[in-house]
């Protein structure tokens, strides 16, 4: 299962964060892609609350409910995102995978201070794309781990260190997805 594309919204040589953008209900949610381990279809995901992929097990979490987003329900575009770090792994459904995008660190805005509730734990901030505003999910919260300060700095990549078209080696998607995403990214990544 592949990504729809790989877009680079970065032109400077500063720091950038790569996100997997997905639709959950009407909301564009961005996940730091460093911890994306794969994207599979619901059929590939299994029914027992766990997804096993490449000899790793991912416990299912209803991320839409935790985010208080009304998801669409399973459609042909529903995908299961496999998300993990060294400590914890989770899998969760999204209504549609939009693609990968590199966002310059300086273009990432914090959640406005007027948002004062639990959303401040769940969402790190946002970025504005031409056709949508993406809300950045806190990856520690997604994995139900204690959060930390300056979370996005953990995921920042120095753009100048990557060559055009080079894919982040830390992003280990299932091979089919990686090949498809890489093919789609040719000519679009700067």
């Amino acid at each position: 299962m592949g990504l729809r594309g790989h877009k680079t919204a970065v032109v400077s040589s500063g720091l950038a964060v790569r996100f997997l953008v997905a639709l959950m209900g009407p909301t564009h949610v961005a996940f730091p892609s460093h911890w994306v381990r794969g994207i599979v279809t619901p059929a590939e995901g299994g029914q027992d609350g766990h997804v096993t992929w490449a000899n790793a097990s991912y416990e299912r979490t209803d991320l839409a409910r935790r985010l208080t987003i009304q998801a669409k329900g399973v459609t042909a575009e529903t995908r299961i995102v496999l998300y993990a770090n060294e400590q914890r792994s989770r899998s969760f459904a999204v209504d549609k995978v939009v693609g990968l995008i590199d966002v310059e660190r300086t273009l990432i805005q914090p959640l406005p201070a007027q948002f004062r509730g639990g959303e401040r734990e769940r969402l790190l901030g946002l970025f504005v794309e031409s056709s949508y505003i993406a809300l950045i999910a806190n990856p520690f919260w997604v994995l139900e781990l204690p959060s930390r300060t300056n979370v996005l700095d953990v995921f920042a990549l120095r753009v100048s260190e990557r060559r055009p078209g080079e894919f982040d080696s830390r992003l280990r998607l299932p091979s089919a997805a990686l090949e498809e995403a890489s093919a789609m990214s040719v000519g679009s990544a700067k």
């Binding site: 209900g25 009407p26 909301t27 564009h28 985010l67 208080t68 987003i69 805005q109 406005p112 201070a113 007027q114 948002f115 004062r116 509730g117 639990g118 959303e119 769940r122 969402l123 946002l126 504005v128 949508y132 505003i133 809300l135």
Partner: protein, 158 residues
């Protein structure tokens, strides 16, 4: 994008003393509810461009709206007053909020600028800290809304 309505107010000349006795107010409506606000609390009025929902626990703050290259949080004043916005193309009132610029979706009627005699403005604390008091603008007695601190000290419905 503001209409001025000076003619209805007492006119006692243009000297500074008279100016000092006047308060500039902007009158706008949300779901037909007419409200007044101090002009210095308003950053501008723009066309409403649609919003992006944010899964939020903060009462009445559950969306973002695009503004130029960025976006602003939206305070749902209509929901606070349990109103529905009137038909027509709504407008975006940009507020100089203490926490940063804030957008409010208001009725399509363009806000009007009033000079109100200070004697016609009554500030008083009530049950709703978002309401500062009342003023008489034109022939209407209108609640004055505290836009700069909207939602800060009260999350209760009006």
């Amino acid at each position: 994008m503001l209409r001025t309505q000076l003619g209805r107010q007492p006119h006692k000349g243009s000297n500074g003393a008279t100016e000092a006795r006047m308060q500039h107010m902007v009158v706008f409506s949300v779901g037909g509810q007419r409200l007044a606000a101090r002009t210095e609390e308003i950053g501008g009025v723009m066309p409403w461009t649609g919003l992006t929902a944010v899964p939020s626990d903060t009462p009445f703050v559950r969306a973002l709206v695009r503004q130029e290259k960025g976006c602003l949080p939206v305070f749902d004043l209509a929901a606070k007053f349990k109103r529905s916005l009137q038909d027509g193309e709504p407008l975006c009132l940009v507020v100089k909020h203490v926490d940063g610029p804030l957008a409010i979706c208001i009725d399509s009627q363009v806000p009007s600028l009033h000079m109100v005699a200070r004697s016609a403005v009554q500030y008083r604390a009530g049950n709703d800290p978002d309401i500062a008091g009342t003023c008489i603008a034109g022939e209407e007695e209108l609640p004055i809304i505290n836009l700069t601190t909207l939602g800060v000290s009260s999350n209760r419905p009006a």
